[in-house]
């Protein structure tokens, strides 16, 4: 099965969902991304990507029961699909091929 290589932000979201496992839903994915990238991310942006990834079959989702916190509203939980994991691998391999033979730089070091 061939899929489009997920884009940059899509990869970030996929990784966050994978990492969070059963605890992955809109809010936790956003928190995870903000914590690990150090950027502010709009909730809407996270969801746009989540919905798009589900359409592409890289994620699947299910509705959880409403909880008394969060104003009694239900959650939508996301999980990565095998196709999602495959997409991430493809993307990573692409990058690795592109990095191949280049020196790993660290911050502050001048490029040749």
């Amino acid at each position: 099965m061939t899929t489009d290589t997920p884009g940059d932000f899509e990869q970030q979201v996929l990784l966050a969902v994978w990492r969070l496992g059963a605890a992955a839903y809109g809010g936790s994915v956003r928190d995870e991304l903000e914590a690990r990238t150090g950027r502010d991310i709009a909730q809407g942006a996270v969801y746009v990507t989540l919905v798009r990834l589900e359409k592409k079959g890289l994620l699947r989702s299910s509705r959880s029961e409403p909880t008394p916190v969060r104003g009694g509203k239900s959650k939508r939980c996301f999980a990565i699909t095998p196709a999602g994991i495959e997409g991430l691998r493809v993307a990573r391999r692409t990058f690795e091929r592109l990095w191949d033979g280049l020196p790993a730089t660290t911050p502050g070091e001048a490029l040749p």
Binding site: Y25, G26, G27, R30, D31, A42, Q43, G44, A45, Y47, V48, V51, R52, K55, R63, V69, R70, G71, K73, S74, K75, R76
Partner: protein, 901 residues
């Protein structure tokens, strides 16, 4: 602590942008984050929440959701299935989209409807709050109100004697008989001033007859109305209790000061009962009628009574009416037997309270006025609806192609008509909502108008269910009535030729013709309404032109109400003398006078006397005239000239002076064609109490502008018969300042005196001009609105015509037509409609004038000036409305026009 919730507005916004389950999930996530963040920094949390909601990504997400397949169980963002609910939802969505696609059309149509519905909502709101409220009594159809019928058929108040007669003679039909009398009182404010509040003096059984029990405390006990002046107790209204006393539960049993004397508060009436003055006018308090010696000093008995009686079970109002008439007849017979020369002529009449709106005497006028106002705003609505119809018709022509495509693709005609009707219902709904808002604003503004009454009226304008129903009703009718024809029209076009694009100008012309008829109708309606406005403006003008008999320019007037328990007549006379002396020494005051009753004010005092050699009117033993007590400078200060004789002299304020001045009408009544000076009157028929006529004054309007010259009598000021007097000053400074000078002097003399009116003589005349002014203002506004709406219609039609004929204009100009000629061509089309509509309008106006003639002052219903003014205003404004779009026609670039479709 309650968990914090995100900003409500932002939450609602989010819910409306993101529907369905995804929306819920996003909202939940944001809420969860908000709860966490607001523990650290609530302000920051709110800001972040707003930022998330307003982020462009939310709109992208919305798009993303909508492109999802609507398989149940996946992301259901819309109602399921294809039942009628789903169909309606689709229709509504489609209608909304289609309306939003042409925002100019939608805006104009909604605005036009709002302007039409607004005045209807305002007038309905006003009339509803004034006229169509319940009395708040138990079983109003079991209560009979009893009035005295005057010889000229007016419903009048009762004297106390009538109350006794009915109570005695009506035991068969009435369970209980109560009496009540309007009483404007003053609650003392903490700063020592007085706040005017309308109240009622009532018999002890009043609340029982009305079937009203106190919400707090109690109502009156029978003994509280037994002995005059012994029970200073008061029941206050719910409104006063909440408004003035902050719903203080401790007030019951406490005291408040009414007209300078403490009263014990025994109870608070329920909010549903607002007294018996008028349904829209709340009674602020009730006191036992036995307190009249304190509240209306100088009177032997409480007067001006309305009698209300509750029917015994099983007895009908009609039976009671007969009994009431019999009581009067029996009384008359007794009187005749006692004194055959004084024929008893008492007539009593019973009216079931369920049939009374405000007062049986003027319900007729009120309802006629109501009908007139509703008629006028109804016409405005009609103009607005015709606008809507015109717009929809043009739109239907424009959308013929769209409809043809839909028919070709298999849409049924019914479905398309339904679709178009939903569009017009949607338009009407939005228009009605906007109109309702406008109407509420207008009604509030109208109620806020200060009425020229001694006591502020408290009309409550509330947005109640009836008003909503009324507005929704007229919007529905407007939408269906004026949306159906265009909808039928749109679907009638032959599909094939329309799609080919050759259902050409011929058909268009017919449709534009339909719109022309509508515009003509608008012009007709506007002419009638403008004519109505012009009539009432003329009526006001005539009223202000009436010579009131005294000079109202540049004078200040202050009304002083002295408490007769504190200041008796002699003290008031001395007070006025001292006040006059002080004011006369003030360099800013040229002259100052005091009278017990100003002309064109409320209230009256009569005096009866014999005129030697002149027989009294039939059925009466003495002559009766209304009288005012005035100081010597009265006639010069008010600019009333003396026809004969002289004014009073300073020494003549003592009680034994024996001098009188008559109005010219009075002098002519008793001694026609002869001099009155030196003649003698016998006060009360007593030759010992002789009054010599020393002067004859010009006639002055006493009660109303329209009255015939009125016989009137002036006596030297001796403190008056009531505590009230008015001080008039004229001088070298503006009138308002003069009133201030008088007020300050009165205050300096005695800080306890209550000043109920401080203003200019012009203000004093306010109330006689009030109704004509109100009518002129209202109808001018209504007429102006109709004109604006009609011009919107005309403008729309002409500019639509121009846009359809761009190609024609191009050809004409390419062939050498002057720009002016093209403009004239377009303009002519519009102006013909104005002329035709205006002409029909004038014809209709003549009929309209006859209907409203009764409301006019001093002019005929076919006033030529008004008949001229209405079409003139219409012509000028309408010509402008037609010219603006017509000018566009001349700017057509022939080359581009010919290239266009």
């Amino acid at each position: 602590m309650m968990p914090r919730r995100p900003p409500r507005l932002a939450r609602l916004l989010l819910e409306s942008i993101l529907p369905g389950e995804i929306g819920e999930a996003v909202a939940g996530d944001l809420e969860e984050r908000f709860e966490r963040r607001s523990r650290e920094n609530p302000v920051r949390a709110r800001l972040e929440y707003w930022r998330d909601v307003l982020s462009p990504s939310v709109l992208r997400l919305r798009k993303e959701i909508r492109s999802l397949p609507t398989t149940p169980g996946r992301f259901p963002a819309q109602p399921h299935g294809d039942g009628p609910v789903r169909a309606l939802y689709d229709d509504l969505r489609f209608a909304l989209r289609s309306l939003l696609k042409s925002p100019a059309f939608t805006g104009v149509a909604v605005l036009s409807l709002a302007l039409g519905i607004g005045p209807n909502a305002a007038i309905f709101s006003l009339i509803d709050s004034l006229v169509f409220q319940d009395w708040g009594v138990d079983d109003p159809e079991r209560i009979v109100d009893i009035y005295t019928l005057t010889p000229d058929g007016q419903y009048f108040f009762n004297r106390h004697r009538n109350y006794e007669l009915v109570e005695e003679g009506g035991t068969d039909v009435f369970e209980a008989v109560a009496a009540h009398s309007l009483f404007p009182g003053r609650f003392e404010t903490p700063d020592g001033g007085g706040e005017p509040v309308l109240g009622e003096m009532v018999t002890g059984n009043y609340f029982d007859v009305m079937g009203v029990t106190a919400a707090r405390g109690r109502t009156f006990l029978p003994e509280e109305d037994a002995t005059p002046g012994t029970h200073p107790v008061i029941v206050i209204s719910d409104e006063v209790w909440r408004g003035r006393y902050g719903a203080d539960p401790g007030l019951v049993g406490g005291e408040l000061r009414l007209n300078g004397r403490p009263y014990t508060v025994v109870g608070v009436a329920p909010a549903s009962f607002r007294g018996r003055i008028a349904p829209g006018i709340g009674t602020g308090f009730w006191v036992p009628i036995s307190m009249y010696p304190h509240l209306s000093p100088g009177k032997m008995q409480a007067g001006d009574l309305t009698i209300s009686a509750r029917l015994r079970p099983g007895r009908s109002a009609d039976e009671a009416k007969v009994v009431v008439e019999t009581i009067a007849g029996r009384y008359n017979a007794e009187q005749n037997a006692l004194n055959p020369e004084r024929r008893g002529s008492l007539e009593l009449v019973g009216v079931s309270l369920a049939d009374v709106r405000l007062h049986p005497g003027f319900d007729g006028v009120v309802l006629a006025m109501t009908a007139l106002l509703f008629g006028a705003v109804g016409l405005v609505l009609l103009v607005a609806c015709v606008n809507l119809a015109g717009f929809l018709l043009s739109r239907a022509v424009d959308r013929r192609k769209e409809m043809a495509i839909r028919v070709a693709l298999g849409a049924g005609r019914g479905a398309i008509i339904r679709q178009l009707l939903i569009e017009s219902l949607l338009l009407a709904g939005v228009g009605a909502a906007l109109g309702l808002a406008l109407g509420q604003l207008a009604a509030r503004a109208l109620v806020a108008v200060e009425l020229p009454l001694p006591v502020p009226l408290d009309l409550s304008v509330v947005l109640d269910g009836r008003l909503l129903l009324f507005t929704a009703g007229i919007a529905m009718v407007a939408a269906i009535l004026f949306g159906l024809a265009p909808a039928m029209e749109a679907t009638r076009a032959p599909v094939a030729s329309t799609l080919r694009g050759d259902a050409g100008a011929g058909a268009d012309r017919k449709k534009v013709g339909g719109r022309a008829v509508l515009v003509t109708a608008q012009m007709t309606l506007s002419t009638v309404l403008l004519f109505g406005a012009a009539l009432f403006v003329r009526s006001l003008q005539t009223a202000t032109d009436v010579d009131v008999g005294f000079s109202a320019r540049e004078g200040g007037v202050v009304r002083v109400e002295a408490d007769p328990n504190v200041h008796d007549a002699d003290q008031r006379r001395d007070l006025v003398a001292e006040l006059t002396r002080r004011l006369e020494t003030d360099a800013r005051v040229a002259s100052v006078a005091t009278t017990s009753r100003m002309p064109l004010a409320l209230g009256t005092v009569n005096t009866s006397f014999a005129v030697p050699g002149v027989a009294p009117p039939p059925d009466q033993s003495l002559h009766v005239l209304e009288v005012a007590q005035v100081t010597p400078a009265y006639f010069t200060t008010l600019g009333i000239s003396l026809r004969e004789g002289r004014a009073f002299e300073p020494g003549e304020t003592e009680s034994g002076a024996g001098v009188v001045i008559l109005s010219q009408a009075a002098a002519e009544r008793y001694w026609p064609g002869e001099s009155a000076v030196g003649r003698v009157l016998h006060r009360g028929g007593d030759p010992e109490d002789a009054l010599t006529v020393v002067g004859v004054a010009d006639n002055v309007k006493i009660w109303s502008l329209g009255e015939a010259p009125r016989p009137y009598m002036y006596l030297p000021y001796r403190g008056g018969l009531t505590g009230e007097f008015q001080v008039v000053a004229r001088g070298r400074v503006p009138a308002g300042e003069l009133a201030g000078i008088v007020r300050d002097e009165v205050r300096a003399l005695d800080a306890d005196l209550f000043l109920s009116e401080v203003g200019t003589l012009q203000d004093h005349l306010g109330y006689v001009y009030f109704l004509p002014r109100m009518a002129a203002t209202l109808l001018s506004l209504i007429g102006g609105l109709a004109l604006i709406l009609a011009c919107m219609g005309l403008y729309g039609m002409v500019s639509y015509g121009v846009s359809r004929r761009t190609r024609e204009m191009g050809i004409r100009m390419a062939l050498g037509a002057e720009r002016g000629a093209v403009v004239a061509l377009v303009l002519r089309g519009g102006l013909v409609l104005v002329a035709v509509g205006g002409a029909i309008g004038i014809a209709v106006s003549v009929g309209f004038g006859a209907v409203v003639e009764g409301f006019l002052f001093g002019i005929a219903g076919t006033d030529p000036l008004a008949l001229l003014a209405a079409p003139l205003v219409l012509g000028v404004v309408a010509a402008l409305a037609a010219y603006l779009p017509a000018r566009r026609a001349s700017r057509v670039n022939p080359v581009r026009a010919l290239r266009s479709d």
